[in-house]
Symmetry: C2
Subunit: 213 residues, 2 copies
């Protein structure tokens, strides 16, 4: 199958929008409305669905329940997703409190840090444990997914620990390129880079508008 990161991101957005449509009482939807809701085009929507073997009915559109169910399956929403968090600093503490994860069936089972001052804190019933307990914890709970909220300097080391423990995919917030073995996935989100992006395009717009005016 021919999927990429953007495509899966769109799947998440479709699912999100569909839940809103469902909440509004709709039971069927056409590709163009869904496209509008996520800022895409109807052919893109249909292509994406076709890629995953998701079919609607001609003239009748797609059943929202049916779509959501299939997207749930694709995105792993039919089981609770167990996650560990490394790094209980500013970012880590915020992620533990973040409602979006639990709302989406993602559960941070524990947080890990090297700073003893943080041990045994409990937020949202999530405990902070010493980093050296990460490996047994991950193995015991059969966890595949990790979140890296540690400083840049420690990120590669902690990622290596995670991978050694059995983690197969990581969401990383450190502004650095991480190396991991084949078969493992790292998705890096760097907030300062995301903001730099906005700044760049705002400046670029200003320049071209200046030319146009």
């Amino acid at each position: 199958m021919h999927t990429n990161k953007n495509c899966i991101q769109r799947m998440s957005r479709y699912r999100n929008a569909l839940n809103r449509f469902k909440g509004l009482g709709f039971s069927k939807i056409f590709s163009n409305y869904l496209a509008d809701a996520v800022g895409s085009t109807s052919s893109q929507v249909r292509k994406d669905f076709s890629l995953f073997g998701i079919y609607g009915s001609k003239r009748g559109g797609y059943s929202i329940d049916c779509l959501i169910e299939q997207l749930n399956e694709i995105l792993g929403k039919n089981e609770l997703q167990k996650v560990v968090l490394a790094g209980f600093g500013n970012m880590g503490a915020a992620l533990v409190r973040y409602k979006g994860f639990s709302k989406e069936g993602i559960s941070i089972l524990a947080a890990f840090d090297i700073d003893p001052a943080k041990y045994n804190k409990r937020i949202n019933n999530i405990e902070v444990l010493p980093l050296d307990r990460l490996q047994p914890f991950v193995q015991e709970h059969q966890i595949k997914i990790g979140i890296l909220g540690v400083p840049e300097i420690a990120a590669q080391h902690v990622l290596d620990l995670m991978v050694a423990a059995g983690i197969r995919g990581v969401l990383n917030f450190a502004p650095i390129q991480l190396k991991c073995p084949a078969g493992c996935v790292v998705n890096s989100v760097t907030l300062e880079h995301e903001l730099e992006n906005v700044i760049y395009f705002v400046n670029a717009n200003e320049k071209t508008e200046g030319v146009a005016a």
Copy 2:
């Protein structure tokens, strides 16, 4: 010029890596080392630079100082970037404390919220003000960039306020597609979707490995 989001993201990463190389005492660099450092290829690096009129010397590579300076110019690093934040919830509070922004010359000048219980809190010398003071504040300080850390339900409304006040680019954390007039930029980062992405590819890997084994 022909740039896109990914391209600018790479620019941010190049800059990051170059600062590390500089910190290690290097003064020149070749495209292949830089590529390694950011997880790209040497031809991609050279194409990117060429696109922005950044040139090295054949056989001699690129001067790190010179590169950093040009990337600073492109990414707006030569001036302090003033930003406002809307929404002082869990995410907003974390962003105010986030070191990565100030480290990169991004300064959140004030935060805004509708909840009076949050007014006049001060963290990192950033004050929380009533949302209706956003417009005069933005105009007075000539701010072009905003961060949206408000709940999904409020996001479009607050974005409209920002745009009316003169904000031209927004980093949005709400899991929803926002509409804004032409000439404005919205970059949405949805943490739960980023994690869903990781989960999807981990599952996908497991399946294909199962087949291969």
